[in-house]
């Protein structure tokens, strides 16, 4: 009878044991855990708010993804949407307004919170031990007439902020625009550039041809085998679009190098961080 109890206990412990992962990637067989815009979609902190990103870092994440835009007077700000009215109390495009016109805008997703838009400089200045973290900058380049000049200024301005904090080795640059990535590569060939794609094959071809650092893709558009193929071509893969705990587990099993998740607490727990 005693042995039966022992057997049941062992059986119980083994069935409850957390799933362990044998990760194989180009990131030292470890996954870099990042919050999506800080704490993700379901948080009370707005996406890209300084408070959300700081909360994400203080929870134990390796870093955070954030959306970057540039104001008319060349200030890099953290904001996702094309028009301010989608999530704040103001109207207009970031690139058509000066920072002084934007700085008092506040996110309207939750009553009374009034979190404001942050500049990239302000955020990095408030992160303690900033070199301990990684940051993925999703460059939002909403089309303009003077796109070429705008992108050039964007790159120079962003790089200036990165260099101010000596974060060249802590930053990933993402963009959907191949022209932008080409331009960035021509100015700063050593930066870690990711092409943001919805088509793995096309993204792989472009990343290979330009010797990029990696591919940035939604988890729904990429398989474990495709990630292996990218690794075989010396390309890292960062995945996003993970909105559930199940999604976290499925994504880990694909062996990506970076995961940007909306379920940060669960992913950290799942990876024993």
């Amino acid at each position: 009878m005693k042995y039966l109890y022992l057997f049941i206990c062992i059986l119980f412990l083994t069935t409850c044991k957390k799933e362990k992962y044998s990760i194989q990637n180009l990131n030292g067989n470890s996954i870099t855990v990042m919050g999506h815009g800080g704490m993700g979609f379901e948080s009370l902190y707005p996406l890209n708010s300084a408070e959300g990103i700081l909360n994400c870092l203080n929870l134990g994440a390796d870093g955070s993804e954030m959306d970057i835009q540039m104001t008319k007077d060349s200030v890099m700000v953290l904001f996702h949407d094309q028009d301010l009215s989608e999530t704040t109390n103001l109207k207009g495009n970031i690139h058509s307004l000066n920072w002084s016109e934007i700085k008092d805008a506040y996110y309207t997703i939750s009553p009374y919170q009034g979190f404001t838009i942050s500049t990239l400089d302000d955020l990095l200045a408030s992160v303690k031990n900033v070199h301990d973290y990684s940051f993925s900058f999703d460059c939002k380049l909403y089309k303009r007439e003077d796109q070429e000049l705008f992108e050039e200024t964007f790159i120079r301005t962003l790089q200036k902020v990165i260099e101010k904090y000596n974060l060249e080795n802590n930053v990933y640059i993402e963009s959907q625009s191949q022209e932008f990535i080409n331009r960035y590569k021509s100015y700063y060939p050593d930066m870690r550039l990711f092409i943001y794609t919805e088509n793995f094959a096309k993204g792989l071809d472009f990343a290979k041809s330009k010797s990029l650092y990696g591919i940035f893709i939604s988890t729904k558009y990429v398989t474990k085998e495709e990630i292996k193929l990218a690794h075989d071509n010396n390309l890292r893969v960062a995945i996003w679009g993970i909105t559930s705990e199940k999604g976290n587990i499925e994504s880990i099993k694909k062996n990506p190098d970076i995961i940007q998740t909306d379920k940060l607490r669960h992913l950290l727990k799942e990876l024993d961080r």
Binding site: Y45, N58, T108, S110, P111, Y112, Q113, G114, S118, S126
Partner: protein
């Protein structure tokens, strides 16, 4: 200390509101009570004047025929821990005066101020700081409430004039009891 700052900063404006409510509650003891047999109510509100929900206490100040005057104070919080992961709760306190018209089935009209004290990043110092704001919340709605002890149900349209600058359409549903 930051939590206590909430009471020290902008204290004059907030003190005047608290004073008003306290005096109002004191006034109720001498106020004329006509047909109302109960004087208090407690209820939980989903959404409503505190944002996503609150616990509220009401004191019935004055009642005559089919008219009643009520003062209300509530409490709510969004987060208990700030973004540095230390215990430092957001505090949201809705205060209001309401007039009820009817009997058992009441129409409710009210106006109030919601004090919100939220922990955010201070751009100047790059440190965490507690910011306190006032927002005006008018309300109109329906209330089911008997003159004796019993259940209270209310449904309100309560737009928030957030930070007294921006209108946000809002409403709430409440359930509680009178005693």
């Amino acid at each position: 200390m930051m939590f206590l700052d909430f009471f020290s900063k902008k204290s004059r404006r907030l003190e005047s509101i608290f004073l008003f409510v306290i005096l109002s509650i004191g006034f109720c003891s001498t106020a004329q009570q006509d047909s109302m047999l109960v004087k208090n109510a407690v209820y939980a509100e989903v959404f409503g004047s505190a944002g996503y929900g609150s616990l509220n206490y009401e004191r019935f100040l004055w009642c005559r025929s089919h008219v009643m005057l009520i003062s209300k104070m509530g409490f709510s919080s969004y987060k208990m821990f700030d973004f540095n992961r230390t215990f430092n709760p957001d505090v949201i306190i809705p205060i209001s005066i309401q007039t009820l018209l009817g009997n058992t089935h009441w129409m409710e009209l009210g106006v109030g101020q919601t004090i919100s004290s939220i922990v955010k990043l201070d751009r100047q110092t790059k440190e965490m700081k507690r910011f306190t704001h006032l927002s005006t919340v008018p309300s109109i709605g329906y209330r089911y409430q008997k003159t004796q002890r019993g259940m209270l149900i209310r449904v309100t349209y309560s737009p928030i004039v957030e930070f007294n600058t921006t209108l946000r359409h809002w409403g709430g549903v409440s359930w509680g009891f009178t005693f």
